[in-house]
């Protein structure tokens, strides 16, 4: 109950801030930046995998947001609107870099690959805990479409219906891409653990 009230008052104060920002008030822009900067920067950092690029992307995303804020009418949640914009800025950047061909309008199904079943290694599971740095490196290896959905769902905690709005895809598509992202991530982590085991002689 208290949590619901707090969420409601948070939303109300954010609505006020948006209205004030729409009138050009600096304090409102600064407050909106403060509220959302961590999630936006973290998303950019995990998507781009580079600090300097993440800074530029965060800057670009907030600039675009504030330039367009007058057009925000509250049809969707502000954070969803913001994250859609951030994801587009990042995917556009990756597309410009030419690293991956990324569809901005829908998740690229060309990334789909059947899961390989490796018989004979049933018991080789990831052990205990996953190192944060290793996990981040593995996330960086994911193709951009998978990566965006994985980060939004498993790291940032968005629901599939919100991700569908952010990524402009169906809820079903979001679910299936997430599953494939997890499998791909698992494959990468197991590969890295295997390499580490070979190097150190320790069990993976």
């Amino acid at each position: 109950m208290a949590q619901e009230q707090s969420a409601a008052s948070k939303a109300a104060s954010e609505t006020q801030l948006i209205a004030r920002a729409q009138h050009g008030e600096e304090e409102a822009f600064a407050a909106l930046f403060e509220i959302h900067k961590r999630r936006v920067y973290s998303l950019c950092l995990r998507m781009a995998g580079d600090v300097a690029e993440a800074e530029d992307l965060t800057q670009e995303a907030f600039l675009q947001l504030f330039r367009k804020i007058a057009t925000f009418r509250g049809e969707s949640a502000f954070s969803t609107w913001l994250h859609r914009l951030v994801v587009n800025v990042v995917l556009m950047h990756l597309r410009k870099k030419g690293l991956q061909k990324v569809s901005l309008d829908e998740v690229d199904n060309s990334q789909d690959e059947p899961v390989k079943r490796e018989y004979g290694d049933d018991d080789r599971r990831l052990m205990g805990s996953i190192d944060r740095v290793v996990l981040q490196a593995a996330i960086e290896e994911l193709p951009p479409g998978y990566k965006a959905i994985f980060i939004l769902h498993d790291v940032e905690g968005y629901e599939h219906n919100e991700i569908a709005q952010i990524m402009n895809c169906s809820v079903g598509n979001s679910k299936s891409q997430l599953h494939k992202a997890r499998l791909k991530l698992r494959e990468t982590l197991r590969r890295d653990a295997g390499r580490l085991a070979k190097t150190t002689g320790l069990p993976s």
Partner: protein, 230 residues
């Protein structure tokens, strides 16, 4: 019968069903068959354990704060584009929290308090101390200073600091404490700007902040000497 059930649970079709159901199960939907299959199939059991581990480790990844300059750059662009309509002076802007924290408010409060105290009846007036009065009004108006101006201002601050140290015992103790808190806060800001400038010597915005911090410090020292050490 039991053996047949176990064979069914370990079959390829059960693995395929497991693959179809695992996302729904992880979303919190009830899938009792999935758990039965995982208990009988090492491959799927391992997959379930791994994905659960990846999920929990991912949820624990901590978000990170962008550096201060990100907001500074956003703000600057918004001001240049006329999107921000600023109602306050430079130091009142809430844009760089760590740069702004107590310093501008405290410095302003000290100056106001000093003026009130000076004008209030019954206040002890100390003999006037000669100070190096070389800070020109034009310097205060600038938001950006050339390196030679900055150097000259630093020298002035050193002189003012010398005069202040020599005479600060003449200040009322509470006023002295307030002044020194403000000066310490300004020094923190100066060090912070200097650290950024060392990493990024071409960062114009930080240079501007640094110039302003020096000016504020000079003004504060000057006001202490002008109004209190009499």
């Amino acid at each position: 019968m039991k053996e047949e059930e176990n064979q069914e649970l370990r079959s390829g079709s059960a693995c395929a069903r497991f693959a179809e159901d695992i996302s729904a199960y992880l979303e919190g939907e009830d899938r009792p068959q999935l758990l039965s299959h995982a208990a009988a199939c090492g491959f799927c059991q391992c997959m379930l354990a791994d994905i659960q581990l990846i999920r929990s480790a991912s949820a624990e990844l901590m978000p990170e704060d962008p550096p201060l300059k990100v907001w500074a750059n956003v703000r600057l662009a918004l001001v240049e584009e006329g999107i921000i309509r600023s109602r306050h002076g430079f130091w009142r802007l809430p844009s760089l929290p760590s740069l702004l924290r107590p310093m501008p408010m405290a410095a302003a409060a000290v100056v106001v308090a000093v003026i009130i105290l000076f004008k209030a009846p019954g206040v002890v007036v100390h003999p006037r101390v000669e100070t190096p009065n070389v800070i020109h009004a034009a310097v205060f108006e600038q938001s950006y200073m050339r390196p030679q101006d900055l150097q000259s201002l630093k020298q002035t601050i050193q002189q003012l600091e010398g005069a202040y140290s020599a005479n600060s015992t003449l200040l009322e103790p509470s006023l002295k404490t307030t002044y020194e808190k403000s000066l310490a806060s300004l020094d923190d800001e100066i060090h912070e700007c200097q650290a950024i400038m060392q990493e990024e010597p071409q960062d114009e915005l930080t240079r501007e902040y640094l110039s302003r911090a020096y000016i504020q410090k000079a003004q504060l020292l000057q006001s202490a000497l002008d109004y209190n050490l009499r």
